[in-house]
């Protein structure tokens, strides 16, 4: 078995077939460079010890807010390893979403029916 596999070649496979094999490896652990947006519930301390309680979809953690002096309660901050890197700019987020919506409308126009395609075919 092992001998045969060693001389093997890996090819692509449709999604559904292998997903079940990989399911058990889908561990949701913390990624090192991952930074996630969370909402500030309260703020205490000052300068390098300015600490906020930040909610990530209901899970609350202590976060150092020293480098986001402009952050206030209710703001969303991007947090990485317990350290806030930026305050999420809601207006800019809206601009991005508007851009996406415009592209969607444009595509709908181009496809003729005013309705988005069910799927996008990948040319072979």
């Amino acid at each position: 078995m092992a001998r045969e596999i060693r001389g093997s070649k890996i090819t692509q496979l449709p999604n559904y077939e292998i997903t079940k094999f990989l399911r058990s490896w889908e561990v949701d652990s913390a990624y090192m460079c991952l930074a996630v947006p969370g909402k500030i519930l309260s703020i205490a301390g000052a300068d390098e010890l300015r600490i906020g309680r930040v909610s990530f979809g209901g899970i609350v953690k202590e976060v150092n807010l020293a480098c986001v002096p402009e952050a206030k309660i209710g703001d969303y901050v991007i947090v990485h390893v317990g350290f806030a890197l930026s305050v999420v700019d809601e207006a800019e987020a809206q601009i991005t979403l508007d851009y996406l919506r415009q592209i969607g409308e444009l595509q709908a126009l181009e496809s003729g029916g005013g309705e988005a395609p069910d799927e996008v075919e990948k040319p072979s």
């Binding site: 990989l22 460079c33 390098e48 990485h80 890197l85 991005t96």
Partner: protein, 407 residues
């Protein structure tokens, strides 16, 4: 979650993918720099939504992956000391060193602890005045402010039993190394959104114009990445090479100024060795003059140690975008996240690990037997010892040894 769910909308992703299909007329190769983006691309199957002429290459932006083996060895040497509490992000514990990994040290009685933040390591040092607490400060610019803050706090409060084993790396020199490589295929970059959140993107303008590559600062959600690709493709098709910011909800042109000031107080730019690249000049951060007493390499006298990379693992080529994980003969067979040959299979951001977890692949047997998916749990497959020369089963033609737990 706000600012997450709306950037995962399937309908919008489909439309954006259609827009990319409509915009492409020629083959283009785009590199996403950050391992977090690689992970999202694999997890959400974004590469399969893209038109065939657009190839995504996976870049060197996984800090765990580019940490050279000699630093892992230094970490295991320090962690094995009786007076030391060695703290690290969880990703680093399974990265193989020359002889062993940090898990191995922990199993042998070393006090190795996984922490969520370097600031937790500072707290630990305060609670354990009789111990030396060492934090393994690995990361790109994203992690540097938090690590800088940890040392800064230690000095402000006169904490002497805390130190950092620093392996900080910087993105722009790595991009330049990729572009200067003779076998470079990259025509555009998706720059790492969180690195730019800290550093801004002003330093990318000279790169874009010197090498004539579009650079789009991109976020991490599926719609962010698709939009980043769309912006890259538009630039490429129009013959432009500019720096654009897709991730404007977090990234400002000048970055996070207080964080950069803190970093420049605590760190200085140094030459650094990268796995897969060798030494890149001025490509990393080390502790500044005033903070040398917090440098674990000096404190524990491991500065001079050096070690060569293992030759069997092709992670160097994967990191430079020359090979894909599936082009490695060990992938998924002799190298798995549980028994990795190299760091790219260990880290949650590593390209090989992302392919292993999410990629829809299977092994086609050399004989004409029907296609069979790989059963990852099949312990009759090879699982060689780290130290035993993992390639020798191949070379001699003998079957690899069956599964054995580590000694």
């Amino acid at each position: 979650m706000k600012f997450v769910d709306e950037f995962r909308d399937a309908e919008a992703a489909r439309q954006l993918a259609a827009a990319i299909h409509g915009a492409v007329t020629r083959p283009w190769t785009i590199m996403e720099v950050c391992g977090g983006q690689t992970h999202a691309i694999m997890k959400f199957g974004i590469d399969e939504l893209l038109p065939a002429p657009v190839t995504l290459l996976h870049g060197p932006g996984c800090p765990v992956c580019v940490t050279p083996v000699e630093l892992i060895d230094k970490a295991t040497q320090i962690a094995a000391l009786r007076e030391v509490i060695f703290c690290s992000f969880g990703d680093m514990l399974r990265v193989p060193g020359t002889r062993c990994d940090l898990f191995h040290v922990k199993a042998n009685g070393g006090d190795v602890r996984v922490v969520y933040s370097p600031l937790d390591a500072v707290k630990l040092a305060r609670q354990n005045p009789a111990k030396e607490v060492v934090f393994f400060a690995v990361g790109f610019e994203t992690t540097a402010p938090a690590n800088a803050m940890a040392v800064y706090q230690a000095r402000q409060t006169g904490l002497e039993n805390f130190s950092l084993l620093v392996s900080h790396v910087l993105v722009p020199p790595a991009l330049e190394a990729v572009l200067n490589s003779p076998d470079n295929r990259v025509q555009a970059f998706l720059a790492a959104g969180h690195v730019c959140t800290v550093m801004g993107y002003e330093e990318y303008h000279p790169l874009a114009s010197k090498y004539h590559v579009p650079i789009v600062v991109t976020g991490f959600e599926p719609l962010d990445i698709l939009q980043g690709v769309h912006m890259c493709v538009r630039q490429l098709e129009q013959g432009r090479a500019e720096v654009e910011n897709q991730y404007s909800r977090s990234v400002r042109p000048q970055g996070n100024v207080p964080a950069r000031e803190l970093m420049s107080k605590v760190f200085r730019v140094v030459h650094r060795k990268w796995r897969g690249f060798g030494e890149i000049p001025r490509s990393g951060l080390g502790l500044a003059e005033g903070y040398r007493q917090y440098d674990a390499e000096i404190k524990f006298g491991v500065e001079a140690y050096s070690a060569a990379e293992d030759s069997e693992c092709v992670s160097g080529e994967v990191l430079r975008g020359i090979r894909k994980p599936t082009e490695c003969s060990a992938f998924g067979l002799r190298c798995t996240p549980e028994h990795p040959l190299g760091a790219t299979m260990v880290s949650n951001e590593g390209t090989c690990a992302a392919y292993y977890r999410y990629r829809r692949t299977r092994v086609e047997l050399a004989s004409s037997s029907p296609l069979q998916p790989v059963c990852r749990r099949d312990t009759s497959l090879a699982c060689p010892e780290r130290s035993g020369g993992t390639a020798d089963g191949d070379a001699s033609g003998t079957p690899p040894e069956p599964f054995r737990s580590r000694p």
